[in-house]
Point group: C2
Chain length 197, copies 2
């Protein structure tokens, strides 16, 4: 079942929600989502003191909370809010790391409607402050690391009436393929090492 | 009404929740909470391109979502989760900024039970990665900036059987009083300028 935000964007359940739903289903051999792979990667980075990078909680507007005596508060009514930032941030070797992760099943191009204005503005602000800003794109059976400065170029082209997506060829030119590992599944810090250190 | 997490800690409603509740009440001359003051400060920093620092959303475990046709998804059952990080982070002049804000009404000391193990571990990890980690304490009619390295000292003293709080005198010795402004209400970047640049 797909949940949608008021703006029509789909809600990606967090790992925790997913576990709740899957408790009656077999855990073996389940497909990992991009978010789960990134959570595993970040957990590995954290445990090995490589970096401290976390996914931010899903922003929720809480309207009504029930507070039964002697037990935990229950949120009875709440709504998904659109985030004003990207989903992931943290610190690596003293540098500020900030990124968003998106996937497409599209075979020929990466649609820009995976992003919204607030996120793009946030990436610009992070670049202005000297932070490392990028997106991880799951597309065409690969993971791509695309610097925010390039995403901004494609975004501006769209705003100027140009195409509403990034082609596979453009990704191959401007993005880096992220090496996959067993523990650091989507080992994006390898790209950061190459580009910034 | 005070909501509590399963561990007994009180839930601090976000600005948004608060607005919802206050819509029928007069907005004039209301007292600002520490969180509201920090949100205003960070908004001012953001708008003036001084820094990009945000409060993370309240972590919520979503259990049940209702998805009415033609309208927004409604979260019908959810629970507050304990965060594994601090509440605020972002980037300032290329550096990673990470902090937690807490207040006490206590007149003589700042109780350490305002923090929990996960937050303290997170602060240690941030320091290890070369990030700027601190706490903003509202206490004794002042705002204090206390570097995480000092908080860790007090925390370890407690774990070694010592006192469970930081005295006013200790704060005066190890913390910095944060200047208050009109727009940057709790102007903590002034302290960071002094200490790190």
């Amino acid at each position: 079942m797909i949940f949608r935000y008021p703006n029509g964007k789909t809600y990606q359940p967090t790992e925790h929600t997913k576990h709740t739903k899957q408790q009656s289903i077999s855990y073996s051999n389940r497909g990992m989502t991009l978010e789960e792979d990134l959570n595993e990667t970040n957990k590995f980075y954290l445990e090995n003191k490589t970096a401290v990078i976390h996914k931010k909680p899903t922003p929720v507007q809480i309207v009504n909370v029930d507070y039964p005596r002697r037990s935990a508060a229950v949120i009875k009514e709440a709504y998904f809010k659109q985030s004003s930032t990207t989903d992931y941030n943290g610190v690596y070797r003293g540098k500020y790391i900030d990124f968003e992760a998106k996937e497409t099943k599209n075979k020929t191009s990466f649609p820009l409607n995976n992003f919204h204005d607030h996120q793009i503005e946030h990436m610009e602000s992070v670049l202005d402050q000297g932070g490392i800003s990028f997106v991880i794109l799951s597309a065409f059976d690969d993971y791509y690391f695309l610097g925010a400065e390039h995403l901004l170029t494609f975004w501006n082209r769209q705003n100027d009436g140009g195409r509403k997506s990034i082609t596979l060829k453009e990704l191959q030119e401007f993005a880096y393929t992220i090496p996959l590992g067993y523990q650091a599944r989507i080992d994006y810090l390898k790209i950061i090492d190459k580009l910034y250190f």
